[in-house]
Each structure stands twice: as structure tokens, then as C-alpha cells.
């Protein structure tokens, strides 16, 4: 019997967490396999919080990798005005030593932010330059968007390079 894989999921806001949760359910994870570390609401520097939490969780994961081999983590941080590659470099730096290819760590960096992906995955048009974030709104379930993400529609991926990169990233944690 395959052992359960347990993940820590670091997310920038509740909307991102809800999207990731559905994506991970789609990959076969259950609620009991996932531990969420979601940034507190209303923070001015949620990306900073994510980087701090990402670094702390990555170090715990590595320190326990021998005893708890079926563990991993997913970190999602908005690119905002940064390049996706810059965010990856920040995530590497936050955990002191860069991510190794075999480490069960997936980094999802929507550009500009998760709302960009949700628009495209919901069938609307979007680009990576415009900021679509609707501040102050209640997060919504996004089952359809998560399902579309996992279907990996080539047209959507061509539209958003950050989405294409993320689709490859989640394969790193597939149980």
C-alpha cells in the first residue's frame, strides 16, 4: 500500500488557499494530508510573510526528511511586479540552500496574482501585466478553475507563462 504523502501548504491569502486545496484534492490528496499556513488577512506585506513562513517550513521539512520521508510542501506567492524567476530566487534564498530536483517542493507563482489565473481558468481573458485583484471581497470556491488547471489546457498555458510553469511544478508533489 502506498503511504500517504502529507504536505504543508503556504499560501498568500484565503483565495489562494482555496484554489490550491482544490488542485491538491484533484491530485488525490485529502484534507487530512494537508496543513495550511495562510497569511493573516489584511496584511500589507503578505509576500514577506509567505517568504518567512516558506523558509521556516522548508527548514523543518528538511530537518525531518529522514524520519518523515513522505512529506513535502507547496508554496504559492504572487509575483506582483516581480518576474517569476525572481520569486523563485527569493524562495530559494529563504530556505538557505537552493531546492534540489528530488525534493518534494512545488512553487506556484501566479503573475500578477492568483486572480489572473482564476480569470483565465474560468474562461475569461487575462494577461500577466494587468492587476485583477479585487481587494476586500470574500474568497469564492473555485472548483471549476482548479479542474481546468489540472486539465492543462494548452491555450490557457500559452496565454500565461506563469500558469504553464506552475502546472509542471505541481507534478513534483503528486502522490
Amino acid at each position: 500500500m502506498t503511504r500517504r504523502v502529507r504536505l504543508v501548504v503556504v499560501a498568500e491569502d484565503r483565495q489562494t488557499e482555496m484554489f490550491l486545496r482544490r488542485v491538491l484534492y484533484g491530485l488525490g490528496f485529502t484534507g487530512r494530508d494537508l496543513t495550511f499556513r495562510t497569511a493573516p488577512k489584511g496584511m500589507q506585506a503578505a509576500d514577506r510573510w509567505v517568504l518567512q513562513m516558506h523558509g521556516a517550513e522548508a527548514k523543518k521539512l528538511r530537518a525531518n526528511a529522514h524520519a518523515q520521508p513522505n512529506t513535502g510542501m507547496v508554496t504559492c506567492i504572487d509575483a506582483d511586479h516581480h518576474a517569476v524567476a525572481d520569486r523563485h530566487a527569493q524562495l530559494d534564498a529563504a530556505m538557505d540552500a537552493a531546492r534540489e530536483p528530488e525534493e518534494r517542493m512545488a512553487w506556484l507563482v501566479p503573475k500578477q496574482n492568483i486572480e489572473t489565473w482564476l480569470r483565465v481558468l474560468g474562461g475569461a481573458e487575462a494577461d500577466e501585466v494587468t492587476d485583477y485583484k479585487r481587494r476586500g471581497h470574500e474568497p469564492m470556491p473555485c472548483d471549476g478553475e482548479a479542474a481546468a488547471f489540472l486539465k492543462a489546457n494548452p491555450e490557457q498555458q500559452a496565454l500565461l507563462p506563469s500558469l504553464r510553469m506552475a502546472r509542471g511544478e505541481v507534478e513534483r508533489v503528486r502522490p
Binding site: 484565503r14 488557499e17 486545496r21 496543513t35 495550511f36 495562510t38 493573516p40 489584511g42 496584511m43 470574500e138
Partner: protein, 366 residues
């Protein structure tokens, strides 16, 4: 949806305002007034929906100790089906007569009345706000509680029904009885009447039981189902069927405190989260295993959004605080005059701490 509650002259609540969101975490030191806010909402439900005498709800001991006024004021702003209702109740204590009565009770939409009572005289208004026939009123009780539904007062009734969907949960598994001698449409705050509530739910919402049992099977090894065994005199004994190799019936009282809490929490998640409900959870984390907390919170938060209901959670537990901080944190504290003040708490990320760590250290900016 509750938009605002204002309370004056109830314990430490003096001009205290609560403005919750869809899912709010209410934090604060012991004695800061958090539970009093919940109790006020439950007392208003009992006054407005159950028609309980005000004297049985608003005891003299609930008057703010350092004030001399004997009038307690409660204001609710509630949105129901697109209408925003303003409700105002003044509870007058008359110590020399040993009476507690309605000083004033007003329900209105945008300033236009649906009900108004003052000094024992009540006026009922139709949905179009024209005045209906005069009412006789027992001013020891809420006048709204006794109004019979008819075609002209649908708005008032909708408001009252919304108040009826307030549910206070301060689960105390040790008090949860194993038998039900009837049905209860509403659980008591400590869930001591859980079997009677479950008996009601199994009749009213049988379609929810499959999902409830599926979830309980994930947290109680071998759990199959809850069932009620008939005894004479209309008594039912609540049993949990558990199969760990051999199916056995366990009396509800034989479950551990933690298991009984989980049964109550998942029952609430599946059966009490109705559209427009307001769930008040006072330390739901008590007795529950650490690994079970976040899965329940995640499922609960998802369910709230799916069915469009509202919840406020009081917690001192790090797991609860850190997860619910992703929604909204309200902080209750005592001002220099002793009165409770509730305000949003915006967490400062620069401290490199989780919210619960900041609270534990007392590193909370004033």
C-alpha cells in the same frame, strides 16, 4: 447576516460594538468580554424567538457594576434577503418591584417601522409600513416573539426567523446526555441536549446524515453511524455503531470527551450551517485532538461559503488562531474605563511571528 451588534450596560459591554464578517475570529484576554457578546446574541434569540420572559434572561447581575442606570440597550443590524433590519431593544430593570420589562422595542427597515413598543403599548406595521390593528402586549416579554405570521408581516417574520438561526455552541462533552425524551429544534449552548437535537435533525434533515457519518468515519476509527434505540415512554437512547473488526453498539456516553466533541462539531457543520445562520463557537477546539482541528476548520470554512452563512469563533488555541487569521481577526479588550472595545486586529508581518506567537508573547500593538 449580522452586520452590527451594539450593547450597552451588560456586564463589561458598555457602548460596545461588534461588526463581524463572514467568518471572524474573536480574540482577547480572559475577561475581555468575548463570551458576553455571544451570550447577548443567544439571549436576544431566546427573547425574540422563544418568547422567554426578559426577567429570566436579563438578570440584575448582568447590569454593568460600575454604572447606576438600570436600562440595558441592545441594537442589531441584520441583513436578510436584501433587506437591512435595525432592531432596538431597551430592557428596563425595576429593582423595587422586582420586574424586568420592555422599555422600548423597535424593528425597522431604513427607518420605517415594522414594530414599535414603548411602555406597554405596541404598534404593528404591515410590510408596506402602514399601521395594522393595535396589539395587546405583555411587556415582560418581547412583543415580536408573540406575533403570528400572516400575509402582511412577512418581513418581520423573516427577521425573527433569521434571529432563530443564531446558534451558540460552548460544547461541554461531559454534560452531553445519552438519552432523548423528545426532540429539540435547537441545541443548548453546552450541547447537553445533543441526543434530543440529533433526534430532531434525523427527522428534519435525513439527507445530511450520510455526509455526517462519512466525515465521522474519518475521525472515529470504525465509525459506521449514529442511531437512536427506542425505549418506553418515547425515550430514545443515542448509540454509535462502531466496527473495528466486529460491529458494536456503543452508548453515546461511552465515547470519549473528544469523540463526543467531534460528533457535535461535525453535526453542527453538516446540519446547522443553513443559509443565513449565525454560528457562535466558543472555544470549539477544547477536547479535540490537534491533528483534527485544522481539517474541521477547513471543512467548516468551506461549508460557510457554500451555504452563505456566518460564524464567529472565540479561540485561544494556536492552530485555530493561525488558520482563522486568514479570514478576519477581531480583538476584544478592556478600555481604561473597563468597558469592552472590539476592533479589527491587523497582524504585523514584520515581527516574523505567527499570529498566535505574537498573542502568546503579548506583542500586540495597542
Amino acid at each position: 447576516m449580522l452586520k452590527r451588534l451594539r450593547v450597552d450596560n451588560f456586564r463589561s459591554l458598555v457602548g460596545t460594538t461588534l461588526e463581524p464578517g463572514g467568518l471572524s475570529l474573536l480574540i482577547g484576554d480572559n475577561g475581555s468580554g468575548k463570551t458576553s457578546l455571544f451570550e447577548v446574541l443567544d439571549l436576544l434569540r431566546r427573547a425574540l424567538v422563544e418568547g422567554t420572559k426578559l426577567g429570566d434572561l436579563f438578570l440584575a447581575s448582568t447590569l454593568t457594576r460600575w454604572r447606576t442606570t438600570t436600562a440595558q440597550r441592545f441594537d442589531l443590524c441584520v441583513e436578510v434577503g436584501g433587506d437591512v433590519f435595525d432592531y432596538h431593544l431597551v430592557v428596563e430593570h425595576v429593582p423595587d418591584q422586582g420586574k424586568v420589562r420592555v422599555g422600548e422595542e423597535l424593528l425597522a427597515i431604513a427607518g420605517r417601522p415594522l414594530f414599535h413598543a414603548e411602555h406597554g403599548k405596541a404598534r404593528l406595521f404591515r410590510d408596506d409600513h402602514t399601521e395594522a390593528s393595535p396589539l395587546l402586549m405583555d411587556w415582560a416579554r418581547s412583543g415580536i416573539a408573540g406575533i403570528e405570521p400572516n400575509a402582511d408581516n412577512t418581513k418581520l417574520i423573516r427577521f425573527r426567523e433569521a434571529i432563530g438561526r443564531i446558534l451558540l455552541a460552548r460544547i461541554a462533552p461531559a454534560t452531553m446526555l445519552g438519552r432523548a425524551d423528545g426532540e429539540a429544534a435547537h441545541p443548548l449552548p453546552d450541547f447537553s441536549n445533543f441526543p434530543a437535537w440529533y433526534r430532531h435533525l434525523s427527522q428534519e434533515q435525513p439527507e445530511r446524515m450520510r455526509d455526517l457519518f462519512d466525515d465521522l468515519a474519518k475521525v472515529v476509527p470504525g465509525f459506521v453511524r449514529l442511531r437512536l434505540v427506542a425505549f418506553p415512554d418515547n425515550v430514545r437512547d443515542l448509540r454509535a455503531e462502531i466496527d473495528t473488526g466486529k460491529a458494536c453498539d456503543y452508548r453515546f456516553l461511552e465515547l470519549s470527551d473528544g469523540q463526543r466533541s467531534l460528533v457535535a462539531l461535525y453535526t453542527m457543520l453538516h446540519c446547522a450551517t443553513r443559509p443565513g445562520a449565525l454560528l457562535l463557537l466558543d472555544e470549539p477546539d477544547n477536547f479535540v485532538a490537534l491533528a483534527e482541528l485544522q481539517p474541521w476548520l477547513v471543512a467548516f470554512a468551506d461549508r460557510l461559503r457554500t451555504v452563505h452563512c456566518q460564524a464567529i469563533v472565540i479561540s485561544h488555541h494556536p492552530e485555530c488562531i493561525d488558520y482563522l487569521a486568514g479570514s478576519e481577526i477581531l480583538r476584544a479588550k478592556r478600555a481604561t474605563d473597563g468597558a469592552t472595545v472590539v476592533a479589527p486586529w491587523l497582524f504585523d508581518a514584520s515581527k516574523a511571528l505567527t499570529p498566535s506567537e505574537a498573542i502568546a508573547r503579548g506583542w500586540i500593538d495597542d
